[in-house]
């Protein structure tokens, strides 16, 4: 059982004289709250420079600025010791740094919609600005991921509020009860397989996730003697929330807003899914004689420790610790250097995932190294199995 890894963890950070560990990243989390303000930044930059290019500021941030920050700002030196865990957990500052994403997100969504429908906006401008709004909705899913994992019902509710923008209200149920249970197995729609491109993975995870959530909710409601068509069904709640949100925005700003709302939602959840793609690519839990899979260990997630992506995504890159301790608040997550590591931060790896040949060239080798060259230990995309066995299978035979 991989529970006590404190002994392996390096303790860094400016310790006070009494030995009390101080979190060097504490105030950096507030930088993450600049993300939902990006649409305001786009509007400001367009007005300042006169360049309509800046309506696309969200995509510029994701494809250029954030990968640059990943490279420039280097590794995250924070690794809280076991002795600091209780204090970190109870420090409400971190919870607020997460929850405050929501008001800024919805302020920028509402103001963004008001700007988008103006006559002065061309169709290209509108598409660009919708992608900027979608980028905020996508990163919002990382904020919602944190809230949705909490025991506190208020925070779980707020996760669903956050997810209304991208139509992903079902994510809380499917992620906690589907993904965390089936992670790194072929049965998990959100765990990518070796040889599966992001574009092949995308419909599988989107529709597979919806299907799985429906099954989970149907079972849960049946245990309470209820049918699946109910307001208590998390999926139905999610759809209703998004319908209500989009309905209200269209009533306020005009029905011509609707295609752009759909565009920003799709872009938003595509961002979530590309992060899902890189988190477990090709990793596989072994089946036990009982038919169950082995327990999830830190070996079943891809990690990174670039400080910029950590700050933007609430430590989501510390993915092994998250799966080992799903109840832990983000500020308590630790970096496991012995767990599988990506060659760059999540922000940078997103770019590679979008260019499959580049992704495969970088990651297939890394994946095989993790399994000592034995491809039979990888979660392989069935359609590519023959080709991959031919290329890599000889190593397993040795």
């Amino acid at each position: 059982m991989v529970m006590t890894v404190a002994a392996d963890v390096e303790v860094r950070g400016s310790g006070a004289a009494d030995g009390e560990w101080k979190d060097p990243k504490r105030y950096l989390w507030l930088l993450g709250l600049l993300v939902p303000a990006i649409p305001f930044g786009a509007w400001g930059l367009v007005n300042l420079t006169g360049l309509d290019l800046f309506w696309w500021f969200g995509l510029i941030a994701i494809f250029v600025i954030f990968p640059f920050f990943d490279w420039f700002f280097g590794e995250d030196p924070t690794n809280p010791p076991e002795s600091a865990m209780k204090r970190l957990e109870n420090d409400r500052f971190y919870m607020w740094a997460n929850l405050l994403y929501i008001p800024i997100q919805y302020a920028s969504l509402i103001v963004g919609c008001a700007i988008l429908v103006r006559d002065s906006m061309s169709v290209i401008d509108r598409i660009g600005f919708a992608t900027t709004i979608g980028a905020v909705g996508g990163i919002a899913i990382a904020a919602a991921h944190e809230m949705g994992h909490r025991k506190e019902k208020v925070e779980v509710f707020l996760a669903k509020v956050t997810l209304a923008q991208t139509g992903y209200g079902h994510f809380v149920a499917e992620h906690n009860r589907g993904h965390h249970v089936r992670v790194a197995t072929p049965e998990d729609p959100a765990s990518a397989r070796m040889g599966e491109s992001f574009y092949r993975f995308l419909p599988r995870t989107v529709f597979g996730g919806l299907r799985s959530c429906w099954q989970l909710e149907k079972k849960r409601l049946a245990r309470q003697g209820k049918g699946p068509i109910s307001l208590r069904n998390d999926m139905i709640q999610g759809w209703l929330a998004t319908a209500a949100l989009f309905g209200a925005l269209c009533l306020a700003f005009g029905i011509e807003l609707l295609p752009y709302l759909i565009l920003q939602a799709v872009l938003g959840f595509m961002m979530l899914e590309v992060v899902n793609y890189l988190e477990h690519y090709g990793l596989l839990r072994q089946k036990l004689p009982s038919g169950r899979y082995e327990r999830t260990t830190p070996a079943h997630s891809w990690n990174s420790n670039r400080v910029a992506s950590n700050v933007l995504l609430y430590n989501l890159q510390r993915h092994s610790d998250h799966h080992a301790n799903p109840g832990r608040r983000y500020q308590m997550l630790r970096h496991f250097p012995e767990a599988p590591q990506l060659p760059a931060g999540y922000a940078t790896m997103i770019l590679r995932a979008l260019v499959p040949p580049w992704w495969f060239r970088v990651m297939d080798k890394r994946l095989l190294e993790h399994y000592d060259g034995d491809i039979t230990r990888c979660n392989v995309h069935p359609a590519k199995r023959e080709k991959l066995m031919a290329r890599y299978g000889a190593a397993a035979a040795r």
């Binding site: 059982m1 006590t4 025991k151 906690n176 009860r177 327990r295 999830t296 799903p326 109840g327």
Partner: protein
């Protein structure tokens, strides 16, 4: 001395159920093992939530 009825405990993360009557033999927890007697560092076999993140629930037995 009358035996206390066996209780069931549900994982707050994923909903996995631990039934004291059944135990979890595949990891060496025999049937009838009370919740208090399971080590504190044990976690949910499905999703690794900590033992402290379980709650006792009422389950209607067949």
């Amino acid at each position: 001395m009358s035996e206390q009825p066996y209780r069931t405990w549900q994982c707050l993360g994923c909903g996995w159920i631990y039934d004291e009557a059944e135990g979890w033999p595949e990891e060496g927890i025999p049937p009838g093992t009370r919740w208090e007697d399971i080590p504190d560092d044990w976690c949910c076999p499905d999703c690794q939530m900590a033992k402290s993140d379980f709650e006792m629930v009422e389950i209607t037995r067949a």
